[in-house]
Amino acid sequence: MIRMQGVQKIYDTGAVRVQALRDVSLHVRRGELVALMGPSGCGKSTLMNIMGCLDAPTAGSYALDGAEVAGLDDDALSAIRNRKIGFVFQSFNLLPRATALENVMLPLIYGDWSEVREKAERALAAVGLADRSHHRPTQLSGGQQQRVAIARALVTDPLILMADEPTGNLDSASSEEIMALFERFHGEGRTIVLVTHAPEIARYAERIVRLKDGLIVGDEPAVATAAAAAGAQP
């Protein structure tokens, strides 16, 4: 599904030259739930942005669903984001003036989609918010807002769901609710990439990829790490 080989990302602002990713090679298979972990500044967000085609690598190759992505133009990347990727952000990023349903419909506005309303209603129902479709984000709790965002990410039936600290702004009860949703979608066979620094979130993953200073420093099944994390906690 995702095959990265020697991916580098260098931010060069003229004065400062930051090597966010040094040499990353990673393979994510269909149906995996992978957690990207590491301290802040380790490059995990950069890696996710490149995986999500929001940003292009400076060097290296990236094949998504068997097709090379590096070197595609902006319109082509937009189309890939639209059809193959669903994003969930830490701060939900809902349009404040739009209803839940309109927020979920947003990806379907771009590109050649049909049955826009029906698809959005089904996606909202899938996250359990069918009865909130005409509410504005301000009328919803944080957990509900994130569920709307998840519905928006899934409304296009994407190949990969990318979630960047999806529970970062939520209390623990809502966090568990959201993670239960991810588990369910994972169980239904979706490929999910989760960026987090929280071990209790990462334990939902079946595989944990650790980054440090722009390099992958660990890539192991989650069971072992979860145990290690549990053991490390007093």
């Binding site: 940003d55 937009s78 189309a79 984001r81 059809r83 990023n93 990806p107």
Partner: protein, 406 residues
Amino acid sequence: MKVMATLRVSARELTANRTRTAFMMLGVLIGIAALTVVVSMGEGAKAQVMAKMERLGAFGAVMIVPGGGVTRGMGSVEAVPATLTVDDAEAIRRDVPRVGDVALVQVKHNLAVKFGAQSTTTSVWGVTPNYPRLRTTPVARGEFFEAEEQASAARVAVIGPETATALFGDADPLEATIRIENVPFKVIGVLRAQGTSPGGGNLDDRIFIPQNTASRRLFNVAHLTQVLIRVRARDQVAATAERAAGLLRERHQIAPGMPDDFSVRIAEQLLGVLTATSQTLTLFLSILAGLSLLVGGFIVSNIMLISVSERRQEIGLRRAVGARRRDIVTQFVLEAGMVTAAGGLIGVLLGVASAFLAGRLLGWPAALSWPAIGGAVAFAGAVGLVFGVQPARRAAQLHPVEALRG
């Protein structure tokens, strides 16, 4: 991109940001309102002149005056060339098709008129009795003279209401004898007040006498200052005027290429001149309004830039879910166009309201011009579209990752 779905959300965003949207509207509103006032007033003035000319019976008639080139006002009999004769008028009536009444006019200005100790100075119009059929000349009291008085060159006069007041005060002028340049005339009628002519002449201070009387007993000249021709078919006025002119050139033996020694005027043409004048004025004021719209455009542009920087997260999100750069450009440009078109609409309403209010207060008529109103709104929208492009492109050039960070 599904434009309607996008704009529905945009519209809510715009109405929620009241101050910003109001300032964007204000940018075009003032220019459009000013433009609307100008156009409404111009239309009103045109309609007023039309109505006045219609009331005076000016349409469907041809006026011929002696002397070539452009002359203004009503020439006095001693000041005009002696080229237009009664025989000319008779020839036109006889030989030009579709000609109805032909009225002969001899005017002399600044004649001394006396009644007892009272005296005044006014214009004396020697006209044939059919004159009221060509130029509305309502008689308030008494009557206009008829063919009999014209034939006998009777010394009878119909006087304007202001002339009557000057000579008689509140007394009754009918049957009184006035002296025009010391020649006695019996007053047989007093005109009703009409105000001013479309050209600005006073219609209420003058004296009508039979044309024969004027020619033989007062002015002692045979030539005319004006011939008025009624054309039987309204759509044939210009053609008839041309044939009359051709006949006159023939009668006056004017060689081809030489200028006319007379001028032919039709009201439709005069209206054209008036329209052209008001068009020049309208054009000038439109340029001013256009300049104010240009300034408004820059305001729109700057507020849009603020809006773009405040909506970075939204832009980032839209890009993340698949909006292409051109989708972002389209959205922001259409938003700007929507706001300025709405501003234009409000401006038009405001302009129309002030034009009618000013009209009411200043006695100046205002009239609606739907094409102008539609044009103003479309133009305001276009200002938004044009001046929205640069901020919209700025929005589209934002890097999705940077934009999402807010």
